[in-house]
Amino acid sequence: MNRDQIPPAASQDCREVFALLSEYLDVELPPEECSRLREHIERCAPCVEFVESLKKSIELCRKFQPDAVPGPLPEATRQELLAAWKKASS
């Protein structure tokens, strides 16, 4: 089947891609299931588009680091942490 022959709605194969896509991208699927999904994606333009958008969204999350930093640690708390570590390590 080429791209022109794909039916005009989310087919069962497309739905399966949507359902398993994170496991597919994280390489957590069994090899045979992974191959089956890859075969469908390669010939389905909407799935390619969706896969690329999810990949980019995950990439954004992975690069995202909140810029908020905690306030300075009060000296009394620092001493308390140090004392707790020394006690647990003794």
């Binding site: 989310a10 994280d26 969706f50 969204s57 640690l73």
Partner: protein, 200 residues
């Protein structure tokens, strides 16, 4: 750092405290959504970490072990402050609509290829991502934060949250789909703006 501290060498103590205090602060800030709570949870977590330091079995487990303690502290804080009902995200809510263009099907989504790499994490988009993460229901947000922000493994995430690997995978996927949908809506709005200006 953890290995040295476990052997009684305190030379890396300050670095260890600052590294994990900042990590836990950011995790709880995104979990609780409140700076003051995040400060409190990160300090309380570090105190528990050092009180129980002799219970850490190997240095390799330090990150999941600390996040497990942080997660519990976070839950206690939430119980004290507000009751957040659990929300279940359905896969069907995230399957985009299709449109027919001649003989071709097309998804009704924004053009993600138009997102330049250098703009990925600048200005407005950073705020959109932070907001989208905060809006995720708690059960999904906790998994996304550990798997995609902290980049912990499925197994380590399951150990921290007391979930099976299968549940971690399911929640991660639905959380990711929810984030993708929110970012897609943002990109769609951004892409509409230049067109309107250009047509005026």
């Amino acid at each position: 750092m953890a290995r040295a501290l476990m052997s009684g060498d305190g030379s890396g103590f300050e670095r260890f405290v600052e590294h994990f205090r900042t990590k836990i602060f950011r995790y709880t800030w995104l979990m609780c959504g409140d700076r003051e709570d995040a400060e409190e949870v990160s300090q309380e977590t570090m105190l528990k970490v050092f009180r129980k330091f002799d219970q850490l079995d190997t240095p390799e487990h330090v990150r999941p072990w600390i996040f497990r303690i942080a997660r519990n502290e976070c839950l206690m804080k939430r119980r004290k402050s507000q009751f957040a009902p659990e929300v279940e995200l359905s896969l069907d809510d995230f399957i985009p609509a299709f449109q027919q263009e001649g003989e071709h099907r097309k998804l009704e989504i924004a053009d993600w290829s138009a997102l330049p790499d250098q703009d990925l994490l600048q200005g407005e988009l950073r705020d959109v991502i932070a907001g989208a993460i905060r809006e995720l229901p708690d059960t999904y947000r906790s998994v996304v934060l550990l798997r995609d922000i902290e980049q912990l493994s499925t197994e380590a995430t399951g150990q921290i949250l007391l979930l099976s690997p299968e549940v971690v995978k399911t929640r991660l996927h639905r959380g990711r789909l929810a984030l993708r949908k929110k970012l897609d809506a943002y990109l769609g709005r951004k892409q509409e703006q230049p067109g309107k200006e250009g047509g005026a």
